[in-house]
């Protein structure tokens, strides 16, 4: 492929899931999602191969791979890595929304949550991130789904059935879990408990968004964005509609792929440094050459 029209991939090594996206002819040609396990490099390779298979592209045909996410430095196949705030912002700008340009990204991850503001040109403006407290992250949903004995992916539909959501008094997951156990013992309807849980997460994340300031269009991203109950609860807290992309879990991987595309096209990384050559190293090498761009803390 030519430098103008490179075939590239992004890998997002998250705390809970590893996501990969292959970009060819400026189109998402393939994606894959795998649970993150102990061997991060193997996870990354597995997700990449899944996305490549869907795209019908061979690994040798890739012009560049860029990694992102909490485990981004462990991805041997990546020539460069980029922090997930930058990757998300890049993806949200490129994916856009049917309602106009994206100005705010709300991302609930497996173990963190972030709110990002884009300026009028779609460039990253400012952000807030919670990595300290598991309330307001996907972990909250995971723990509560387990306590309720309900599959995580069914929480959304169940919660939407509620007419009388419970009020959880605890912010902390550990305490809320005991509270949920008592609510089950009191025979409160499961849908009301689930709706209360969605509300608790929405309030937590919504408060962070309000702190940063919310501008429309709001792009709601991350795995929990697939949960319609969370989306509705967050819309109620913020008073604005949220746009959920078709595949909210892979946005950061798409963002990393876009960084790879531009690195090949313009020979430069987002911070202006020259990109490494277009070849993609095999899984075993290239580790030493990987560079880290735009550490999240640098811009705060």
């Amino acid at each position: 492929m030519s430098d103008e029209d490179p075939v590239v991939a992004g890998i997002d090594l998250g705390s809970t899931y590893t996501k990969a996206a292959v970009l060819a002819r400026d189109r998402i040609a393939g994606t894959a999602i795998l649970p993150t396990v102990v061997d991060l490099d193997a996870c990354a390779a597995g997700a990449l191969d899944g996305a490549l298979a869907e795209a019908r592209v061979a690994r040798v045909d890739l012009d560049m791979v860029v990694s992102t996410g909490y485990g981004r430095r462990a991805v041997g196949v990546a020539a460069h890595n980029v922090d997930e705030i930058y990757a998300k912002a890049t993806a949200a700008r490129w994916l856009g929304s049917p309602w106009g340009p994206v100005r705010t990204v709300i991302d609930i991850g497996g173990q963190d949550s972030k709110v990002i503001r884009l300026d009028e040109e779609g460039a990253l403006d400012k952000f807030l991130m919670n990595t300290k407290c598991a309330a307001g992250t996907g972990r909250f949903l995971e723990v509560m789904a387990r306590a309720l004995g309900v599959p995580l992916e069914r929480l959304g539909e169940i919660g939407l059935l509620s007419k009388d959501p419970v009020e959880l008094s605890s912010t902390c997951i550990v305490m809320a879990e005991s509270e949920v156990v008592s609510l089950i013992a009191e025979r409160r309807a499961v849908e009301d408990i689930v709706a209360g849980i969605h509300r608790a997460v929405a309030e937590r994340v919504g408060n962070m968004a309000k702190q940063l300031g919310v501008l429309e269009v709001v792009f709601f991203d991350g795995g929990p964005a697939r949960n319609a109950g969370i989306k509705a609860a967050l819309e109620a807290v913020l008073g604005v509609p949220l746009y959920v992309p078709k595949n909210p879990q892979v946005s950061a991987a798409i963002g990393a792929a876009l960084v790879a595309r531009d690195a090949v096209r313009y020979g430069k990384l987002p911070d202006g440094r020259p990109a490494m050559g277009a070849e993609v190293p095999g899984p075993a090498d290239g580790r030493g050459g990987a560079t880290t761009l735009l550490e999240a803390g640098d811009r705060r």
Partner: protein, 268 residues
Amino acid sequence: MTLTAGVDMGSTATKALVLIDGRIAGSDTRPTGSDPEQSGELALKTALDAAGAKLDDVERVVSTGYGRRVLGLADEAINEINANARGAAWLGSSLGRVRTIIDIGGQDSKVIALDPDGVIRDFAMNDKCAAGTGKFLEVIAQLLEVRVEDLGTLSAQATRPVAIASTCVVFAQSEVVGLIARKEPRPDIVAGIHRAIASRVVNMARRVGVEPVVVFDGGPAKNEGLRAALEAELGLKVFVPARPQLVVALGAALVAADMVGGGGEGVG
């Protein structure tokens, strides 16, 4: 004869204490479980048995703690900050007059500052986040498959306490799973957890202001390792009463005695 009782209805444990003429005559501690009122009644009856008294002999019952309002037997309910301050000041300490109380409960933690006369000057409370509470110890003990009451002994064998990066109990849980997988010695893990809790609680204490003498009470105060971690974090000696879990129930019994006019003057 003045006979009063205090019942501390905690989130995790229920404690009752019987006071006869300014002397501790009997006490009981039991898990709160799913029926706090029943636990409260049972604790009171058991404490009365130990004191050789009957419910009819009790002139006044004062309840306190998070579930204080569910105890129908109680004549009065008071908040646990007051009860704790009264109990700790009455017990006094071998180190001198009590000026600061650090209370770690099953699901909360409190710091109470007393003025030289034992009157509450200020306090801080965390009941929002499980880090810095006994719940943290419980979760970690479960993960390490040891009893909570053995954590103190275990941490005494630590040679290189691990640094716990997470503040959140949920994240720390994953972190400890990783430490176990990497075969970090358990004593080092437990000592690291004690440090994490101590640092959290001492941050809160510093907001209120720490004056010696510092009393450490609540169930987790029985944990020697946690006490040592608190002392290291504070840079001060910390006094732990003989039965730290009962201080709040004692305070409630003393307030009950004040009400009937037979309160012990105290030694603090």
